[in-house]
Every structure is written in structure tokens, then in C-alpha cells.
């Protein structure tokens, strides 16, 4: 491959005012451009890996700069990299970047640093994607989600999953390639049992990945509870809407949706019909079915009950208990859940915090969402193949077909990261079993 001759530059901190702004340069001229634009106290500035203080000249005036030099190949991109930490004033930063471009730097295209890092073999595909998402993240919470991907959240999960799937394959392949006397014959039942455990882990990863992807869109929070528990009143208080409220149980039939900003993240709040055995037929019956569907599709269900009544003993996961109308209760509301009053506004801020915490609100950027979809597809395909392997094994079908399905499952996972060569497989077999006559 031809050495890339260009030196790229970009503002590495999010747009808008911050205390500090960073311009990053990468390429053969990165350090040279630093010397041309900055005046340092130290004579040996930028001569090696390190940080130097000095002043940056943008052609008009000058500003203080902290320059971090990372000569290649031991840098993020594998090229010479220079980071200029400047005061976070948008006009000054823009002037500095313009100066660098005037001296020959090229404006980096989105993700170009990451691409260079990937091409120089400094990072693998999954990490590259994480970094890309990080770069393009638009808010702090987005950056947290991207960081999770980047620093091994997904990587670790996949690695563990891949390991257990590979183990399963090793058992299967060892049974195929060696005598039972060698490998200590693994019964099909054990294969199935282990397979089911892997499947459960796969399912969990899939759920995690799906939730992560969905957070790219607005999280859906659904109000649920017995009829006339005060859901709509709470809905109006939280969203500023005007749903019809009355003391007649079953007033709300159609689900109402309104935007609700939680901890700075736009969410959707859904008001549904109260669930009751009294409304099993007619239009109310329809409303009940819709309500149930909404509950199932929700990222979080707010289980609303009257503060004066005893709270439910058991809450399913993904549900948060809300004790409504606490203003009508005698004294402070004890027990679990968040006590709120739509009338006095008490507890509403607390509820918002609890929701943010429960949902782990980290909406991903467009890039991260797209990645997520790719991962979900790969995980789903892997699960499909694993199911096939399990079905075959349960039916005591031929082991070579079970092995083939497992191979295909692993191959799907490997589409995300890494690959297992036949040599890897044999290494594992030899490490575990005493093979050979």
C-alpha cells in the first residue's frame, strides 16, 4: 500500500464552547506543522513522545497551547500524531485550524483517524466501530454508550460467548475426529445441555444489544396500573399534556403518547388503559389488549398504584413502582417505590432520576445504532444455527451435521470480530484431550 502522504487535521472535541478544545493532526507532517505554528520554551519540543507548553500563532494573534507529540508507529493511527490543546473558544479554535490547513494540512473526513488506525492494524474492526461512534457521538451520554462499545463492553460479551461456542464445537469436533477412547466420549445429552447454556447467553447478549440499539431511538416508557390509579394525571403532570382525566375508572381507552425529556434525553411516555378483569369485552376489551401490547414493547413500565393502598409484593423486571397521590396519604408514604403527587409536584424530580437510572439512558448515535443492527443480525443468525444444532442433537441426528451447524453459528459470530481457523480448533482439542493410540 502506498504510504498516505497527506497529513490530516480536525477538531477532536465536540463543537460548542468547552473549557478546552483539541485539534488533532495525523500524518508525516504532523510534528513539522506543530513546530511551524507553535513557539515552545523547550528547545527539544516535539522531538519525542511527550507534552510541551508553548504559544500557538494563528497568523493574527497567539494563544497558549499544550502540545502532545506521539510519533508513529506507537500512536493511535500508527502515524505521527500531534494533539494541540487550546482554550475552548470557538473563533480561536477555528482560526487555529484554518492556519494549519493553510500550511498544508487536510481537513480530516469523518472517521478518517479511525480508518487510518484500522489500516495500520492498530485496532480491530469492532474497536474501530466503537471509536467511530465515539467520534460521532453527539452528547455525553452517547459518548458513554460508545465508550462501552469501544472499551470492551461488547467485545467482552462476544468474547465470552465465542469462547463457549468454540468450546462446544471443540467437544463436537473431538468426538468426530478421534476415537471415544481418546476423548472420553461426550454424551449427546451433555452437548445439548452445554448448548442450551450457550443459547441462554446468546439470548442475553441479543437482548442487551437490542436494548442498546433501541436506545438510539427514544426509549418508550409506559404507565400501567389498575384503572383510576392516577396514571393520566401523572402523564399530564410529566409531559404537560391534557389527557382527559376523571374519577371514572376506564376513562383512558386509546394509548396516548407524548415526549418526555428525562435527564436530558428525549423519551416517549405512553399512557394506557388501566388493566382490569371488569373490562374484558367490547371496546374496553380492545383497549385492554392494546395496553398489554404496549407493556410488552416498553423499555420501562411505570407501575402506578395509589399511595394509600398496599404496594404489590412482587414487581417484574423492567418495572418501576410509582406510589401516586401521596398528597392524599396520611403521613409519609413508606415502603418501596417512588412517592409522587401530580398535584403538588412532589417526587416528580425523584421519579425522573429513577427512570434515568433504570433505563441507563445512553442513546446511541446514528452510527452506533447501525452497528448495533449489524451485531443484532449476526447474533440472531448465530442463534438460528445454534438452534438447528440443538434440534439435531436432541433428535440424535448425525454428529457431523451438528458440527456443521455449530461451525456456521461460530462463523456468524466471527463476522463481528476475529476468526477461528481449523488450527485454533485442533490446538484446543489437543490441550484438553489425551489423543492418539
Amino acid at each position: 500500500m502506498r504510504a498516505s502522504v497527506s497529513t490530516i487535521a480536525a477538531i477532536a472535541t465536540p463543537p460548542g464552547g468547552g473549557r478546552r478544545a483539541v485539534i488533532r493532526l495525523s500524518g508525516p507532517r504532523a510534528l513539522e506543522l506543530g513546530r511551524e505554528t507553535c513557539r515552545f520554551a523547550a528547545e527539544n519540543a516535539l522531538s519525542r513522545r511527550g507534552a510541551w507548553r508553548g504559544r500557538f500563532h494563528d497568523g493574527v494573534g497567539e494563544q497558549p497551547v499544550l502540545a502532545l507529540a506521539m510519533p508513529g508507529p506507537r500512536s493511535f493511527t500508527g502515524e505521527d500524531v500531534l494533539e494541540l490543546h487550546l482554550v475552548g473558544s470557538p473563533p480561536l479554535v477555528a482560526a487555529a485550524l484554518a492556519r494549519l490547513v493553510a500550511l498544508g494540512a487536510e481537513l480530516a473526513r469523518p472517521g478518517e483517524f479511525t480508518r487510518r488506525a484500522f489500516e495500520s492494524g492498530r485496532i480491530d474492526l469492532s474497536r474501530a466501530e466503537g471509536v467511530l461512534a465515539l467520534v460521532e457521538a453527539e452528547s455525553d451520554s452517547e459518548r458513554r454508550a460508545a465508550a462501552e462499545l469501544c472499551f470492551g463492553g461488547l467485545g467482552k460479551r462476544l468474547e465470552a460467548l465465542r469462547e463457549s461456542l468454540l468450546d462446544l464445537r471443540v467437544l463436537c469436533e473431538a468426538s468426530l475426529d478421534f476415537d471415544e477412547a481418546d476423548t472420553g466420549h461426550v454424551p449427546l445429552e451433555e452437548l445439548v445441555e452445554r448448548g442450551e447454556r450457550v443459547r441462554a447467553a446468546l439470548e442475553e447478549a441479543l437482548g442487551w444489544e437490542r436494548r442498546r440499539t433501541r436506545r438510539g431511538g427514544a426509549p418508550r416508557i409506559v404507565l400501567a396500573g389498575a384503572p383510576n390509579a392516577g396514571k393520566s394525571t401523572l402523564f399530564n403532570a410529566l409531559t404537560g399534556s391534557r389527557a382527559i382525566v376523571s374519577d371514572v375508572a376506564g376513562t383512558t381507552r386509546d394509548a396516548l403518547v407524548a415526549p418526555w425529556v428525562v435527564a436530558g434525553v428525549p423519551c416517549e411516555l405512553v399512557d394506557t388503559a388501566g388493566l382490569s378483569a371488569d373490562f374484558a369485552s367490547g371496546p374496553d376489551g380492545h383497549a385492554q389488549r392494546f395496553a398489554k401490547a404496549e407493556h410488552e414493547a416498553a423499555d420501562l413500565v411505570l407501575r402506578v398504584c395509589d399511595a394509600r393502598e398496599a404496594p404489590p409484593e412482587h414487581l417484574p423486571p423492567r418495572e418501576l413502582l410509582v406510589r401516586a397521590r401521596c398528597d392524599l396519604a396520611q403521613g409519609p408514604v413508606g415502603g418501596p417505590g417512588v412517592a409522587v403527587s401530580a398535584v403538588t409536584g412532589s417526587g416528580l424530580a425523584e421519579l425522573e432520576r429513577a427512570v434515568a437510572q433504570a433505563l441507563w439512558l445512553q442513546p446511541a448515535s446514528g452510527v452506533a445504532r447501525e452497528l448495533g443492527e449489524r451485531h443484532v443480525a449476526a447474533l440472531e443468525h448465530a442463534r438460528e444455527r445454534l438452534d438447528e444444532a440443538l434440534a439435531l442433537a436432541r433428535a440424535r441426528g448425525p454428529l457431523d451435521l451438528v458440527a456443521e451447524a455449530l461451525r456456521a453459528a461460530l462463523e456468524r459470530l466471527d463476522e463481528i470480530e476475529g476468526h477461528a481457523s481449523p488450527e485454533d480448533l485442533l490446538d484446543r482439542i489437543f490441550a484438553r484431550f489425551c489423543i492418539g493410540k
Binding site: R2, L176, L399, E417
Partner: protein, 630 residues
Amino acid sequence: MDPRPEATHAHATPPAHLGARVLVIGGGHAGIEAALAAARLGVQVALVTMRADRIGEMSCNPAIGGLGKGQLVREIDALGGAMGLAADATGIQFKVLGTGKGVAAQGPRCQSDRHLYREHVTALVRAQPGLEVLESTVDGLLVSERGGAPAVVGVRLGDGRELRGSAVVITTGTFLRAVMHTGESQSTGGRIGEGTSGGISADLARLGLALGRLKTGTPPRLAHDSIDWDLTQAQPGDERPQPFSFATQREQFPRLRQVLCHLTHTTPRTHELIRANIHRAPMYAGRIQGVGPRYCPSVEDKVMRFADKEQHPVFLEPEGLTTEVVYVNGVSTSLPAEVQHEFLRTIPGLERARFLREGYAVEYDFVLPSQLDRTFATRAVAGLFLAGQINGTSGYEEAGAQGLIAGANAALWTLGRAPLVLARDEAYIGVLVDDLVVAQPTEPYRMFTSRAEYRLLLRSDNADKRLVPKAAELGLAGKEAVERLERRLARQAGALALLRALRSSAHGGKTLEEVLRRPEIELAGLVAATPELAALELSHDELASLECDVKYAGYVARELEQVARLRRQETLEIPRDLDYSQLRGLANEARARLSAVRPRTLGQAARIAGVRPPDVALLAIHVQRARGNA
């Protein structure tokens, strides 16, 4: 997947004055197949061997085939080779391994009468027109310059004579600088009672070929009448023995009386004795530098590495019908003789065993096979081909397969014809070749079914379908083989048509084909219940193959999709002169591995350990860009 990348040989064909003569050095399993294949393609062949009475010797265990290996034998047979026929003619126990694990995992295996096997193979070699056998050692290679590159023009024999040839196939097995170890004692030689070939080793190194060192071992041999057979467990062969060769007459099979093998096991006392003497084993005392195979470990390795196992199986295999020699499979060892005597007596049934020969380890030179192309021609020297254990492999079947490919290609090259290159989705032999030329072996290479990603396509039952047409086109297989295949396929097609036409009322009116797809349904049962099918009188082979075609159809289709998907990667050729040190962005490990192996295609690059997907992606970008610029 596509022989195109090597459609032209790396070197120009030899000048006419050398004559169309292929020299094969070595009369082992690789040498035999090499000589026979070359002769069948119509060139003169001289097979030079140290001992003409040892052609086709089974140096280690008296068995052919097994898991992954039986498939190789069937492929050798489909390509016109001798191994399958010889095994069928001399087998004294036949057993298909891996039954119950699925058709693609099954590998036929047999115990052979060692003596008769050698006789049978020697007779095949003697009967082959155009093939002469020369008993002599070989001292070195005759090499001249041609077009600025070294080219082999013959060999120098032990008595100083020169033997000229257009191509040389070296198949010297474990005989290159071979050292045998038994405990503290060492002797030179590749097999008990025979010498070593040091001259060739030195010449190969002089020609710039990198050599490595490997180790293999063999167990003790015992006298039949000294074993207490009642204390062992009898292991019969299959009730209905199946031959290897598609050509073997089913009516006259098996030809020889069938015998039993026996099973016993090591005991805690055996392990104790081995542990107490472990410092006297050459591997543990550091006297052997070569690396032994993990899949065929010595008994001392088993005991040391798997300390928690209380016993290891020991198989007692007869070496023939008329010999008293019993091969003790499972206790390969290079411990001192007296330790071997002592520990073997702790094994049930062997308490009074009389040794006919102690076990020993052999250490030998091999050529790093990444210096070969997929025809087994060396890249460094025109006309020089290598096959068998010299390429770092183990096993008769692996050797025979390589011999056939190297011999055929030596002849094709001599004749100026297109080479024979098999792809990974065509044959286990294709997998073997492809693995070897990108391998950096640290132990002798042997075949496993898990090495073949297209295992469901490469079954032993369809080896003829996969390879006979190609063999016939080249001239390796005759008209009878093609006719036999066509007959079989026609009969199977007839039966399949019936399966599709007939419906089963017991299964809700489904066609028999649909019924057969269910795991619990067997074709034999359907045939028994369906007079129309029974009337076709399908043979065992035909039934098995048809059953497999139907049951595996869906999975095979998926593998074929995968083949198509990867075909582009497999055919994307990497320029021979690519300088990986100039390729920006490769991870260091990948750079080192790629520079050492020099893969021919992107597919090969992807299979190299240490080369990660980003490296392959990078390489792909580069190769495509280089093409775009060209």
C-alpha cells in the same frame, strides 16, 4: 476452487535433451504413488530406493485409513492410485470408524498384513509399464543453471554414477539426517536396520531450502504366543467389511481371512514406572530437539501431560496372518529398553510378553513446506518436487496423497501440460496441499476431518464422483473407472427418481424423499418396504451414497453457497513479489507470517494463524488496487 492461479508452472519446462524422465527418490508410500502416477501419464520413470525389497514398507502401524485418512485413501483411489487396492487385497480386518457420527465423519480403516501389503505394492510397481526400479542410495542432486535460476537435472548415485532426469521427486520420508533414540542410546538411520540419507539434506540446504526438525515414534513389537489373550478384550472388525477401492470386486472381498484385534490398558503401576524413569526419556532429557505430534503422543507424554487419567487404552494389532509380530498401538515410546520391558509387564495380558523389538523415536530433517507451490514443486529449484514426510507430514495416507500430486505434476510439467491442483472444496487432498503450503509446522501434519471446512461435500462415499472425471481427463484414471462411476450415478439417479415419485401413506402422503430426510428414517428400511426400490438391487455403496445425498442435501447446498461466497477470495491472487515490509498498516505478527509463508491467494492468507481479518482486508484493498493500476 479454481486452479487458475497456478495455471502456468512457475518454471519453464525442461530442455528436450534431458528426456522425458521423472526420477523418484524413495520407495515409500509417497514414492510409490509418485512413480505410478507419473508413469501413467506417459513419461519414463526411475524409482530409486535404498532397498528394493522394502518398497511399500509399513514402517509404523500395519493399518491403512481411519478418521480423516480413509477419505484420503478413497481419493487416492479415485485418482488412480495404488493404496486402496493394496489395502483391500491385503486387509485382515476392516472397520469403518465414526459410524453413528454421520456419513461425513466416517473413515474406513483396515489392518493389513504388513508382508503381503509390501508384496502387493511391489507387484503393482513392477507391473507398471514405463517404470523401472533402481536399487541405490542417492548422494546428492545434480543442479545446473537455467535462465539464471537453479534447475535440477538428475541425481548422483551412491556409486558415483549420474542419473539424468527432467524432474526429480524426493520422497525420502524420515531418512534425512535421521537419528533413532531408545533411552540413552542413539543410532543413525530412519528405520531399524537401515541407513540415512545425509547428502540430499545438505544439497537441499545448499540450494537455499530451509529445513526443520521433527520427531516421530513407534511402539514395541511383541511375540503373539507370549500374550495372555484372555485378559484382553477382543475387537472384531465390521460384520460386512467395506473395501477402500471403487475398483475392488465386491464379490471377492475380503480376500484374506479376517482376524481380531485386542484391547487392554495401562495401569496406575505403569504410570508410576514411567514417571520414575521420565528423566531417561530422550524428549525429557533434552536429547531430542525435534517436536513430536500431539495427536500421537508417546506413552511418556500421555502420562506426564494427563496426570489425572488412570489408564490409557492399548491396542494389540496383528501384523499379519503368518507372522508372530504384534504391534502394541498406544504405547509409542523411546524410554530405555529395560524400562520398556518393565512397564509393559504392568499391562493386563502383557505380564509375560516377549519383546521382538523395542519402541524407538526417530528424529529427522524436513523441508518447510511453505517453500513449495500447490504442485509440490519447490519454488527455488526448477524441476524439483517434494512429497511425503519430507514435507513435515505423518501417515501413509498423507504421504501417498502427496506422492500422487507431486508425481503427476512432475510428469505434467515435463510434458508441458497444465498442472493438477485440487481445491479445498474438491478433495481432502486439496485441503492437505493448501494447508501444507501455508503451514509452519511445529509437529508432523496429519489429516483431520475438522481441517476440511467443506466436510459435508468431501465424503468418502462420493470421492469417485468428485475426482474420477478429472483423473480421467488427465489420463490418471482409465475408461473402466469412468464407466463404473457413470453406472453408479445412473442407478442412483433412477432410485432418486423413484423416491421422488413414490408417496408414503404411512407418512401422510409425503414423497419418500421427504420421508428419508427425517433423521430417524433409514433408506434400507424404505427399500425393504418398497418393492419398486428393492427391485433396483442397489449395492451397499449405492444405498449409502444415495441416502447421504438426500439427507444432507440442505446442508450441502449451504456449503456450496459458502464456497461461492469465498470463491472470489480464493481466486484473488497475491503478486508473487509483494514486499510485505512495504505494506503499510499490517500488524507486525501478520507481516512476519505473511513474509514467511508468501500465500498465493487471499484465501490462503486468511487461513494463516496470526493473520487477522483487518490484515486480510488491508491485503485485499492492496491487491485490488494493484490490479486496478495494472
